[in-house]
Symmetry: C2
Subunit: 156 residues, 2 copies
């Protein structure tokens, strides 16, 4: 099929463009470098956490970026000072106690009030990334029970 030399050249040039384009797309996706891979104490799956600014007497909220692979989710937990999540990539879940699980996506802003029990994580098929600002004067995170398969949406 590609015996014609000109056609071969054209074909390989186009393949190269496709590859470069895909590569550029992948590079554009990551705003912040992955931080430390979090040890699986309070979550399931792969999560990377990077502290962008530690709370102090001037900025009384921590600022961090969290990257979740598909299927990763935090355990139920709550923040004494509340938390704001800015979803900057992908699709995930957010659920508060007593309310249905919500699907959240890039561009969404979630405001979690103090002491509201909740969990968040990637979906089973898509990773996600968010920036979290968390007022810490009253403490940062109180961890609770694991998210059940039914809550996460895994049918048996």
């Amino acid at each position: 099929m590609l015996k014609n030399k000109r056609m071969k050249t054209l074909f390989y040039t186009i393949c190269l463009c496709l590859t470069l384009s895909a590569s550029a797309t992948a590079q554009e996706g990551a705003i912040f470098s992955k931080g430390e891979k979090a040890v699986n104490v309070h979550h399931v799956g792969s999560v990377w956490l990077k502290e962008l600014n530690v709370a102090d007497s001037i900025f009384n909220y921590s600022t961090a970026v969290a990257i979740f692979d598909a299927n990763a989710r935090l355990d139920w937990h709550k923040h004494p000072g509340g938390q704001i999540l800015l979803i900057i990539e992908g699709t995930g879940y957010y659920q508060e106690k007593g309310k249905p699980r919500q699907t959240v996506k890039k561009g969404d802003v979630i405001k979690c009030l103090p002491d509201v029990e909740h969990w968040h994580g990637a979906t089973a098929t898509s990773g996600f990334t968010y920036i979290a600002t968390t007022p810490t004067e009253k403490g940062k995170t109180i961890w609770l029970q694991k998210v059940t398969d039914a809550e996460y949406g895994i049918s048996k």
Copy 2:
């Protein structure tokens, strides 16, 4: 050259893939929709501002996204409570009084302490976007003088 029907099909399929890929790349760039175009009172050029969360008694800092076209810059100003900037797209400038102008880019985190006079803006050739968290209990922004051409880097 493309008289062969099979080659024509292959060629057009590849062109379609290239187009879709470029389109996906463009869509991926914008995390938050542009807010309101800011009236040019305290800045030069085109700036769009979107409040993601208004400060209140629980979260005592405002959270906003600002999008600057190339050449746009804020006037010199200061924040009584300080400000944190998370650069999420492009390249820009940040300068504090008495210090050299810095080039800042996607992935950078800038912590501006309370009452430090500073300015920030896009470069002459690249727009940029940042998320700003600004403690507001002591007031939000005090505007000062315009950035001079020399400060911005415009040579005559």
